[in-house]
């Protein structure tokens, strides 16, 4: 479960990115967070991964209060999350298999567990046949699948995808979103930060719109509507 209570975040340059955000995401939910550039949605995403800490207010992620986390406990929080980035962030010198296995190695899993789980997850995202390829030999869509496989491999409670389709064409974007929906159906909470209207409107999911550092709408089965406000 994720809960933000009266969260403010100010950058040192005097920019007020979030101005009192309240948000609750229950386990197993699929939520789109939408908003224009500079609305505060990426700041929100970074607060969830503890890359940033709130200037005031409380951020609870999977039972952990990020403001009170000691630096050495941040990895524990991040292991309960799977993070998917717009630019995939795969390690180029490693193969697809190694990239995904690496996340399990970091979590201290045994080679036997790694072998079993990585093959399963690569199969789930439909990229097992390219397990020995390097990321540079894959298309954008395929790279994002690998990134999702890596996010999924440690069986996280929540997947946070920050503009996961930003570098993909519409067909590949839809495929990735359907993959995330499928993962959500298996019980993982999924939070997708995006500004792609067409994509959001194709899914009947909860949509939280942010603008000017405030949540301006939060609707189940909602549409991409910050432009109307």
């Amino acid at each position: 479960m994720i809960q933000l209570t009266d969260v403010y975040h100010d950058y040192s340059a005097g920019i007020h990115a979030l101005k009192g955000v309240d948000l609750r995401v229950d386990d197993g939910e699929f939520v789109f967070i939408v908003g224009p550039s500079g609305s505060g949605k990426s700041t929100l995403s970074k607060l969830l991964t503890a890359e940033l800490h709130p200037s005031s207010g409380k951020v609870i992620v999977n039972g952990m209060n990020t403001s009170k986390l000691r630096p050495r406990d941040v990895p524990k929080l991040r292991r309960t999350l799977g993070v998917v980035f717009q630019d995939f962030r795969l390690i180029e010198r490693m193969t697809v298999y190694e990239n995904v296995a690496f996340a399990m190695r970091i979590a201290g899993k045994s080679p036997k567990e790694i072998k079993r789980r990585v093959s399963y997850v690569l199969d789930l995202v439909g990229i097992l046949h390219k397990a020995r390829r390097k990321p540079t030999e894959l298309s954008g869509g395929e790279q994002q699948r690998v990134s999702i496989a890596r996010a999924l491999v440690n069986n996280p409670q929540t997947i946070i995808a920050d503009e996961p389709t930003g570098n993909l064409d519409p067909d590949r974007s839809l495929e990735i979103m359907m993959l995330l929906e499928r993962i959500n159906d298996l019980g993982t909470t999924v939070i997708v930060v995006t500004h792609e209207k067409e994509l959001v409107d194709q899914f009947d999911k909860r949509v939280v719109a942010i603008d000017g550092g405030l949540i301006i709408s939060d609707q189940q089965g909602g549409y991409f509507q910050y432009e109307q406000t």
Partner: protein
């Protein structure tokens, strides 16, 4: 440290060495230089210590008794001499004994001294050993004040000089160690920094997927430890070669100085080199990776 990851740390540590081969070579060279210079100074200091100890062992204070004193009167001075602070032990040498020693030194020409036993011109004397060489001069002054002691022959000057050289070299070796150690840490830190800079994106990814700082730092730590341990081993070998080269090329022929045996100190040197190299490695790598871990 998770046992499943040890092979990964070692593999990555080895790779890092060859990624920046020139910098690795530079850090190994600087560390070897640092260790060999410090080790050589230490060997010299140890040798001076042995020489000073040998000089004091030889009982190099010789106190001659007034020529008017009979042997009995001269022997009676023993208690007064023992009462002097810093006297460890002493040995009485009668004029008869002194003449015998002189004859034995003359060997085949000892006949020149025949007849002197009837009118022995030599004096009774004492060989005196001291406890603390630092109080050497004060001890001599006290002995000179004893009535019946006519003359004292000592190697005050040479002991004082050697003590001074030893102290200067001792200080120099500490200063050398600090300065060269700082340079070695700086070079290692830069070598590791290059590797971390190359892999900064990877490090950021690792942090985002839940890697601990320990997991990220371990390969860099292994890399710097491998560089350091290799340097320690090479420096030890080089020190050994230098020592035997100098010994075989005349150093051992100089009778006035006693050279410490390398075999006696080799394990201390090896242990010291490894300990210092370990310290350089740990400090070097921890300075350089810290910056990239703040994600």
């Amino acid at each position: 440290m998770n046992r499943h990851n040890i092979a990964y740390y070692l593999r990555e540590g080895f790779k890092g060495i060859f990624t920046h081969g020139f910098m690795s070579f530079a850090s190994v060279s600087v560390m070897i230089t640092c260790l060999v210079l410090t080790g050589t100074i230490l060997l010299v200091v140890l040798s001076i210590n042995v020489t000073i100890d040998d000089m004091s062992e030889m009982g190099d204070i010789r106190a001659y008794v007034d020529e008017s004193y009979s042997e009995e009167q001269a022997r009676a001075l023993e208690d007064r001499l023992y009462a002097v602070n810093n006297v460890a032990r002493l040995e009485f040498i009668s004029n008869t004994q002194a003449l015998e020693e002189l004859k034995s030194e003359f060997e085949y020409d000892s006949w020149l001294l025949d007849g002197l036993e009837y009118d022995n011109p030599l004096r009774h004397s004492y060989h005196i050993w001291v406890l603390d060489l630092d109080q050497y001069n004060d001890t001599i002054e006290e002995i000179e004040k004893i009535p019946g002691i006519a003359t004292i022959i000592s190697s005050t000057a040479s002991v004082a000089t050697l003590t001074r050289i030893r102290d200067v070299l001792g200080t120099a070796s500490v200063v050398f160690m600090i300065l060269l150690g700082a340079v070695a840490i700086f070079i290692i830190a830069n070598t590791i920094k290059l590797t971390t800079f190359d892999r900064r994106e990877e490090i950021a990814i690792m942090k985002m997927i839940g890697a601990t700082n320990g997991f990220i730092q371990a390969p860099f730590m292994i890399e710097s430890l491998l560089l350091s341990l290799f340097s320690a081993a090479a420096a030890f070998g080089l020190e050994w070669v230098i020592y035997y080269f100098l010994m075989q090329n005349g150093l051992s022929a100089i009778e006035q100085i006693s050279i410490v045996s390398f075999a006696d100190v080799q394990y201390y040197f090896l242990g010291g080199f490894v300990a210092f190299a370990f310290l350089f490695g740990v400090l070097g790598s921890s300075f350089s990776t810290r910056k990239f871990l703040k994600v």
